[in-house]
């Protein structure tokens, strides 16, 4: 059987949470070198296989994920906190396409290109989900 894509693994009932029109935020957890978790809110979209988000190479997340690629993400419905997608997996970091992706995300949420500060390198994070949990379940 062909392996299902991320989007295929999410039932119709929750798929809209990944759609650009929903403009949902993702809460992303990383693990710091000392072992404690770090949590931040990010803009995101999907390429069908991964949850994609971005930062500059100066972000704390960048250091944490370089050292430990384990990630957890929670994507709540902006209008209904009782509805969300939760996933755990691993993240891959790349500079390739990161600038274009930054602008694409900014256009999704603000309608405009992003103002990238000179001298900062953009990094794209590609989250490959291993476990996906939905709430409410089984809907």
């Amino acid at each position: 059987m062909a392996k299902q894509s991320l989007v295929e693994r999410i039932p119709e009932s929750h798929r809209y949470l990944l759609a650009d029109e929903t403009k949902a935020f993702a809460w992303v957890a990383a693990v710091m070198p000392g072992g404690g978790p770090q949590l931040t809110a990010v803009w995101f979209n999907t390429d069908g296989e991964h949850i994609l988000f971005g930062t500059s190479d100066q972000a704390a997340k960048y250091r944490y994920f370089k050292a430990n690629d384990r990630v957890a993400v929670s994507i709540p419905d902006p209008g209904d906190p009782y509805k969300y997608i939760q996933l755990r997996g691993r993240v891959e970091l790349t500079e390739e396409g990161a600038v274009e992706h930054t602008h694409a995300l900014s256009r999704k949420y603000t309608g405009q290109d992003f103002n990238i500060a000179p001298g900062l390198v953009r990094v794209m994070y590609k989250v490959k989900p291993q476990r996906i949990t939905l709430w409410p379940p089984g809907s």
Binding site: W27, P37, L39, P76
Partner: protein
């Protein structure tokens, strides 16, 4: 709560019904994040889960947590907290989840046979705000 800035105090009030997004860590060094109900007691953020759930296992073994409290009306406005689970107790566990159920839904929390509810009192160590 003294350590939450004045202009963000509304997010921890019962009537706001904001959620906590709680990040914990598994024993393999990976994180978990999930939304939970909470209330504030003295200087603690208090949450409740059932014994044996992943959050329970994680917090019992590794008390460092991170959490956010987003404004239900504005996702760009939130409190971020790094803290530590300072107290864990089963005493009054059902009464507490029932109290949260009344705050959030205005109804009793269903009693599940054999389910043991556990209270976690999280002491904030660092607080950041956005928005």
């Amino acid at each position: 709560m003294k350590n939450i800035p004045e202009n963000f105090q509304d997010l921890v009030k019962d009537e706001t019904k904001a959620f906590v997004f709680l990040a914990t860590t598994l024993n393999d060094g990976s994180p978990q994040v999930s939304p939970v109900w909470f209330n504030v007691e003295d200087e603690y953020i208090v949450i409740n889960t059932a014994r044996g759930r992943l959050k329970d296992i994680n917090m019992s073994a590794r008390p460092q947590v991170a959490l956010s409290i987003p404004d239900p009306a504005n996702p760009y406005r939130y409190i971020l907290v790094r803290g530590v689970v300072d107290k864990v107790t089963e005493e009054g566990g059902y009464e507490h989840i029932n109290k949260l159920s009344h705050i959030y839904k205005g109804e009793d929390f269903p009693k599940v046979p054999d389910q043991v509810r556990v209270i976690y009192k999280i002491k904030p160590q660092r607080v950041f705000t956005n928005g």
